[in-house]
């Protein structure tokens, strides 16, 4: 599993690893969805859904990764859907993200996440890409 749950007194953290920035975006989405919905992503790959695009323009990579997960929370809360990214492009110099994918019906969640925070958040690219983030539950 490329992600682990980190302990927090009131809430929870996630630490996600991947070989490159694009994979880290995809794995972060999977980690958040698995945290909220359990094993949903593993069983939903075959579903077809409405096409959807997420675009972000940020000041640095940490903001980009935190914003990405907050965008997924927004989509779920407003549309009742999970966004599954299929094609991810990151402009590391301009700090921009373009993610194309589909929206899938969300199953019943097992946990609530209010927000993805910057508290204790960290992004590293060496020796592998690693994103640590804490969730407000």
């Amino acid at each position: 599993m490329p992600w682990v749950e980190l302990p927090h007194t009131a809430d929870a953290g996630l630490e996600i690893k991947a070989s490159d920035a694009e994979s880290l975006i995809t794995e972060s989405a999977k980690a958040l969805c698995s945290f909220i919905f359990g094993e949903f992503l593993e069983t939903s790959k075959s579903q077809s859904g409405e096409e959807y695009v997420v675009e972000l323009d940020c000041i640095d990579l940490l903001e980009l990764f935190v914003s990405w997960l907050n965008e997924l929370l927004f989509i779920y809360e407003v549309k009742g859907k999970i966004f599954l990214p299929e094609n991810v492009e990151i402009d590391l110099q301009g700090v921009k993200l373009l993610a194309r994918g589909t929206l899938q019906d969300a199953p019943r969640p097992v946990r609530a996440v209010k927000a993805v925070t910057y508290g204790g958040a960290e992004i590293k690219s060496e020796p592998i890409w690693k994103f640590r983030v804490y969730l407000d539950l």
């Binding site: 749950e5 007194t9 009131a10 809360e77 407003v78 209010k114 910057y118 508290g119």
Partner: protein, 475 residues
């Protein structure tokens, strides 16, 4: 030990704890509360807050302190309007998360005979749980009115009583709310959620007053031993979360513009005199008004259920107070009365008797303070004091404060064991998610009685009554 003991309930975090601290930390706690603080990140967070520009007197932590984001939970900090800042991380994601107590004119025996049915009826009437949608269908124009008018909007629409408004902090409406500063995303999140409890540590309890500490003040507040009460704990739902997230982005950019650096990005902020701060204050007050309206609507839903079971009784609001909020208030600093911006993140305002901001009803006794305990334990009603006003910007604790992670709590006890144990104590528990019951076991929190004893011993607020739960409804 990084903390220097000042007396039996006060501890100082010296400025040499961390480079950049502008003031010392002042932490309220007994040895039970202080023990273990150093292992988690909360002390570091007290120190980080002490590094913020324009902070006055101390970076405070109430005895329910625990590791949060940016500010610790239980954190209080006041900032100069001239040199100081405002930080969305000092308010938190759940803007105007707060608590209210409603008083019935029933005693325990009258309610005991139908407690299961009553709890089930409230559980079915008040939407709760993850992503729950409200009982109200409102248009966007109405939502904008909610953001401007707060609880007054709910009263105008028949979800509440006019007399409620003077029993809500700020009269149920923060006056400088600016709905135009609230993003479309926040509006989209908030529109379907008005009148919902949410999940996590939010709850609704039917309780009974089982101890009165000050009969005179209790009588003035309408509290009697054996009286049944209702407590509601919730906030501004997705709308508040989105406002916080939106303005963290604004503040990250503002810090570059104003040359501010902070030790934790969650503390990002802007000078109080800046346009960014004005915009955040307008949006935060709008979100707070949503939170106040949300609790008012839920209060009316509870009234509707009670009236079906007890047609001759009505529920009167004792008080409603937010514990995640920033207020501009007048305080004395270095002998001068001045406007300051007080951030309370998991802390409660507690104005003393005689404070001009209090309505006539509470002027003599002081601002009521509501301290919910953990699931299945007692909660407390307190009032503010002069010492709290002078020492810590009229602030006190907001709850028990967690000591165990949700993950550890999940491992500690199975849900059915928790339910059985609480049922043996005469407490009915209903939850939308059974996982919540396991995560919220009483052992996951500090002993609320010890927390409340600390603020009383410190003299920063005063115990008036204790309530014991009869039924708990969780998201």
């Amino acid at each position: 030990m990084a903390l220097k003991r000042l007396d039996h309930v006060r501890w100082m975090l010296e400025k040499d704890f961390k480079a950049g601290m502008r003031v010392t930390g002042l932490i309220y706690g007994d040895s039970y509360i202080i023990q273990g603080l150093e292992e988690e990140g909360a002390l570091e967070q007290v120190a980080n807050v002490a590094c913020l520009p324009g902070i006055l007197k101390h970076s405070y932590a109430m005895p329910d302190i625990h590791w949060g984001y940016g500010f610790p939970i239980g954190g209080v900090a006041a900032f100069s309007m001239e040199e100081g800042i405002i930080s969305p991380g000092g308010v938190g994601y759940d803007i105007s998360c707060g608590v209210r107590v409603m008083l019935t004119f029933l005693d325990e025996d009258e309610v005991a005979s139908c407690i299961d049915e009553l709890a089930a009826a409230i559980f079915s009437k008040v939407p709760c749980g993850v992503g729950s949608k409200g009982a109200l269908k409102i248009s966007e124009a109405e939502l904008l009115e909610v953001l401007k008018q707060g609880a007054a909007w709910a009263v105008k629409k028949g979800y509440g009583e006019r007399e409620d408004l003077e029993c809500i902090e700020d009269g149920g409406k923060l006056p400088h709310a600016d709905p135009s500063a609230v993003s479309r995303k926040a509006l989209e999140r908030g529109k379907p959620q008005l009148g919902t409890l949410g999940s996590g540590n939010h709850f609704l309890e039917i309780q009974v007053i089982d101890e009165v500490y000050d009969e005179n003040v209790a009588r003035q507040l309408g509290l009697n031993l054996g009286q049944v009460t209702v407590m509601i704990h919730c906030g501004s739902r997705g709308l508040g979360h989105q406002v916080c997230d939106d303005y963290i982005k604004v503040m990250l950019r503002a810090m570059n513009k104003y040359g501010i650096s902070v030790p934790d990005r969650q503390l990002c902020c802007a000078p109080l005199k800046s346009e960014e701060a004005k915009s955040y204050l307008g949006a935060m007050q709008a979100a707070a008004n949503y939170g106040l309206a949300n609790r008012e609507v839920i209060g009316q839903l509870v009234r509707d259920v009670f009236s079906r079971f007890f047609p001759k009784t009505d529920l009167k609001l004792l008080y409603d107070v937010s514990h995640n909020i920033a207020h501009i208030e007048k305080h004395e600093v270095d002998g001068k009365l001045m406007d300051v911006c007080v951030h309370r993140k998991g802390a409660t305002r507690a104005f003393p008797p005689g404070h001009p901001s209090l309505p006539e009803k509470f002027r003599q006794v002081g601002q009521p303070v509501i301290i919910p305990g953990s699931m299945g334990t007692e909660s407390y009603i307190l009032v503010g004091t002069k010492r709290g006003m002078e020492e810590c910007f009229a602030s006190t604790c907001h709850g028990a404060g967690r000591v165990m992670s949700r993950r550890s709590a999940m491992k500690d006890e199975q849900a059915d064991t928790v339910l059985k144990r609480l049922e043996e104590k005469g407490i009915k528990v209903m939850a939308e998610q059974i996982r919540t019951v396991r995560e919220e076991i009483p052992e996951a929190y500090k002993d609320v009685s010890r927390v409340v004893d600390v603020v009383e011993k410190a003299g920063i607020s005063r115990k008036i009554a204790r309530v014991r739960p009869l039924a708990v409804i969780k998201g």
